[in-house]
Point group: C2
Chain length 324, copies 2
């Protein structure tokens, strides 16, 4: 079954171009990227050529292709999978273009609402993890972590944040700027200096791109942070809505996400191979807890949130053995 066979090449190119800015967004957290993806779906609703505006199967194909394209450009970002899944499941039984549009809009609105409500609950839980007057370590750029820290500051808690660059895309600078402009005092250094600052922190926060049985996937360097936190006895929390849970069979898709060598070292000399992987995996035993909208979870609590491809995923998004 190829649900995309009625798409012509210009349309396929248009869809791919819609997803492209999401591929190149290395600075935003997963939740922030999900919000951007919502507007990609809104744009995709109007992609059909003028003479086919009322072709319901074509619009379904466009939305299916959009969902797949978004997942493809950021395979580690769980919310993109769930957003696509929500849209495709919502329009499955729709028969007219009008109905597809209404159902899609509803699914997008509901997804955005859930994301925001879940962020608010997580911020409340994180507030209690920030000791007054203490230093908090924050790694990479996570929109969830940023909103938790700004929320705590707005509620009058005083604390300082230490963060590092997060090479090679340096989204740690975006984190530092965002927090500083929100009135939080920030101390910033480079990633390999983590060991010099972490020991003075009362807790460390990280975001997360996806979660499954093996652990939490986040920006590369999270594993080093986690090992250093354990060594220095600093509690480490991953702040993340349960929309980050994905099927186990997609877990290692993040390993596909290799970026261009030039981002690390432009014109590196002959004989030097460059590795530019974006993510690594933090096993649960290195985490103090997963702060979600359902409370602070330990490994033993995650069973109910694990996602089963075959029972919860739309058929168009289930990975076939041959595509692995």
């Amino acid at each position: 079954m190829d649900e995309l066979e009625n798409l012509d090449d210009p349309l396929k190119t248009q869809i791919a171009n819609l997803a492209l800015p999401i591929k190149d967004d290395l600075l935003s957290g997963a939740a922030e990227i999900a919000l951007r993806a919502i507007s990609v779906f809104q744009t995709a609703l109007n992609l059909a050529p003028a003479d086919k505006k009322e072709d319901a199967p074509l619009l379904k194909s466009i939305l299916t292709a959009t969902a797949k394209a978004l997942i493809d450009v950021q395979p580690a970002m769980a919310p993109l999978l769930h957003l696509g899944n929500s849209v495709l499941s919502a329009i499955d039984n729709a028969t007219s273009v009008g109905e597809i549009k209404v159902k899609t809009d509803e699914a997008l609105t509901k997804f955005e609402y859930t994301l925001c409500a879940s962020a608010a609950t997580i911020a409340d839980l994180a507030y209690d993890l920030i000791d007054p007057g203490e230093l908090i370590f924050a790694y990479s750029f996570s929109s969830t972590v940023v909103s938790c820290l700004l929320n705590a500051r707005a509620r009058g808690r005083f604390f300082r944040v230490v963060c590092t660059e997060a090479r090679p895309s340096m989204e740690g600078r975006k984190l530092a700027s965002r927090l500083a402009s929100g009135g939080i005092e920030v101390i910033h250094t480079f990633d390999n200096a983590m060991g010099l600052v972490l020991g003075n922190c009362s807790a460390a926060f990280m975001g997360c791109d996806c979660i499954a049985r093996p652990g939490v996937v986040n920006k590369v360097g999270s594993w080093m942070l986690a090992v250093a936190c354990r060594e220095l006895k600093v509690p480490l929390y991953a702040l993340s809505g349960t929309e980050k849970f994905i099927p186990d069979d997609r877990m290692f898709d993040f390993e596909k996400h290799e970026r261009p060598a030039a981002e690390v070292w432009d014109n590196s000399p002959r004989g030097v191979a460059i590795l530019n992987h974006q993510f690594d995996l933090v096993p649960y035993d290195l985490l103090t807890g997963l702060v979600t909208e359902h409370g602070i979870l330990k490994e033993s609590d995650i069973e109910p949130y694990l996602v089963n491809s075959n029972s919860t995923m739309h058929r168009a998004l289930i990975l076939e053995a041959s595509t692995r």
Copy 2:
């Protein structure tokens, strides 16, 4: 007693300028910097103004000031301390300018010879730590590590090296280039990606700037490397001649070595404080061994090499309580 009171300001400025390039050399290893410092002493021998060329006390003051200036610009680099100590101890009883010059030349030549002989022995020991066909991790830039790896390759051992950037001065790129041009295949990535590559390595090598009872001081990031190596069960060796041992009371001088914020983030936003420390401390229990010209040492073997300020250092180089 101020042995430097007979130096006028222009002469003090000349001496400070001689040491300046050593201060700004963030890319060379400690042994390489010691070789550069030898030529600084050779230049200093000719600094006296024409009308005072035969003033022996003045030349002694010039050499004392040169030794202090070199130690001051790179307080973590042990060989500079020992080089200065060798020169000052050698000229202590010299009474004429001619004698001072001869004794200085002898001390410099002996120091250089010892440094090279010790490097050759360390290279032999390191050769046996490089398993054929394996991956070796190397951190930062250490002239001792580079010469060991190139020596092993030249002796026909085939292996690959993984290294990381070593932010902010990126001397890992110098390491990668030097090894690649010596025929070693190199894999290069950024520092926070250490966890993705280290697990595939059969051993990790680092250099060292100084050693004392608390542990080994090296480029910042070495502590993270050491913690990651232990977690992944990769043996970690510090390759270093025993000229890196320094008195315990100088051990934490490396913490003074803060570099400009702009090297980390030029024009960082208001409210963001930048930390740019160059070194960190690796305690012995995180090291598999210290590869020296006297064999591979464990913590229990270091006692004979510990340096006592009062019995082995020239009086001009002993730290007074008031200067701490």
